[in-house]
């Protein structure tokens, strides 16, 4: 993949290209990935009409003027909302998400330690927002299992880093892509309702969504068994 991304140093690149000359399986796979990237590169944008561009700036200007003169929206509310957008550091929001998830784990620890393979869940709102279908194979596996790997007798690897003790686990969880998605949702809820507490978002999850969140964490196989 890094070859396609042109992220390899010259020596590594030469070595892989030599291998592709003699290995048809790898060459076929490489060609398939190149083809996908080429398809994406060639993907056109639906070009708006010329009138759209002529009207874009005037329309924007009208909105700015309406906001400046309109009494219905309080500038303070807008400023508070957008200030939170730009000033609030994302690590803080992600940290709140991690803390809230950790609280859920502690409260549900007996269930959390058992390894279950629940293959019967229908998609919930979390599932849909993470782009997962009702495919049962997908439900049994973590959404980004490449992020978390554990072979027998090998250390736990989370988000590409070895987790050697519980104190580093929270930091590793924070690097998981789907935790960012949860942080995104919390941040989005906070921006649109700046008076809300982002920790309320997790407590507002339905029982089903909370269970799904726990299932996801469980499937990372924290325990060796």
């Amino acid at each position: 993949m890094e070859l396609i991304d042109e992220a390899l140093p010259a020596e590594g690149r030469a070595e892989i290209l030599d291998h592709l000359k003699i290995c048809t399986t790898c060459a076929t796979e490489f060609s398939a990935y190149q083809h996908v990237v080429a398809l994406v590169q060639a993907d056109p944008v639906l070009e708006p009409s010329p009138r759209f561009w002529e009207e874009f700036l005037p329309s924007l200007r009208r909105r700015i003027e309406q906001e400046a003169s309109g009494p219905q929206r309080s500038p303070a509310a807008w400023l508070a909302g957008f200030r939170s957008w730009f000033v609030l550091p994302r690590p803080l929001v992600a940290g709140v998400a991690v803390a809230a998830i950790s609280i859920l784990i502690v409260v549900r620890l007996p269930d959390f330690l058992a390894l279950r393979d629940d293959r019967s869940k229908a998609p919930s709102s979390i599932e849909q927002s993470m782009g997962r279908s009702a495919d049962t194979t997908g439900l049994a596996r973590a959404p980004h299992t490449e992020d978390v790997k554990r072979e027998v007798n090998e250390p736990l690897v989370v988000a590409g880093e070895v987790v050697e003790d519980p104190s580093t686990l929270a930091a590793a969880i924070q690097r998981l892509p789907w935790v960012d998605e949860i942080a995104d949702r919390i941040e989005a809820a906070w921006v649109w309702r700046p008076e809300s507490d982002p920790r309320d978002w997790l407590s507002s999850l339905s029982e089903e969504d909370q269970q799904l969140l726990l299932d996801r964490l469980r499937s990372f196989r924290w325990s060796p068994s």
Partner: protein
């Protein structure tokens, strides 16, 4: 480019209204294209593009210049699009209604149909990508940003940005493997 952008910002902050107009005209297409590729909906892309520039207008005085204007602007656009996608809201026109027509009229009808099929399959496949993967893919492939820049825009680590991108490509590979270029 960076100096030119900061020059525009300086003019705006000094009360030159034409500076903002200049900034919009300079960036409107790339902002629209980014919003369109994220939402795959022209009407949503238009609304989100305008909203992005509104946010720029309201907050340009707070831009601290630690990043480039492009990075800051892209972050606004991407965050708006991510929130829009996560809310699940979409304007009425369906994805199929919005596919650009194949541009070259000199192609035979079979080639046109095959090209249309490829575009529709790609659009459906991209539509299944989680928003963050879609963002990483779009920023990398269409805006040629580095993973470090993408990470700054998405507010994630560089490693996470790479993971998003690689997962996106792998997912598309799985869904589009039956298509062959020119076949």
């Amino acid at each position: 480019m960076r100096e030119a952008d900061f020059g525009l910002i300086d003019r705006f902050l000094q009360g030159d209204g034409t500076a903002f107009d200049e900034l919009v005209r300079k960036r409107q297409r790339e902002v629209y294209n980014l919003a369109y590729r994220m939402t795959r909906n022209a009407e949503d892309a238009r609304d989100l593009s305008q909203e992005a520039f509104l946010q720029v207008y309201r907050n340009l005085s707070r831009f601290d210049r630690r990043s480039s204007l492009s990075t800051w602007l892209y972050r606004i656009v991407v965050n708006l699009c991510l929130n829009h996608l996560n809310r699940g809201s979409r304007s009425p026109h369906s994805l199929a209604d919005q596919q650009p027509e194949v541009a070259d009229p000199s192609e035979g009808s079979l080639d046109r149909l095959q090209e249309q099929e490829r575009q529709e399959a790609l659009a459906r496949a991209i539509d299944t990508l989680p928003p963050q993967q879609r963002a990483s893919l779009t920023l990398r492939v269409h805006h040629q940003l580095s993973h470090r820049e993408i990470a700054e825009i998405l507010g994630v680590s560089e490693a996470t940005a790479k993971v998003h991108y690689f997962h996106a490509v792998k997912s598309l590979r799985g869904r589009l493997g039956h298509l062959r270029h020119g076949a």
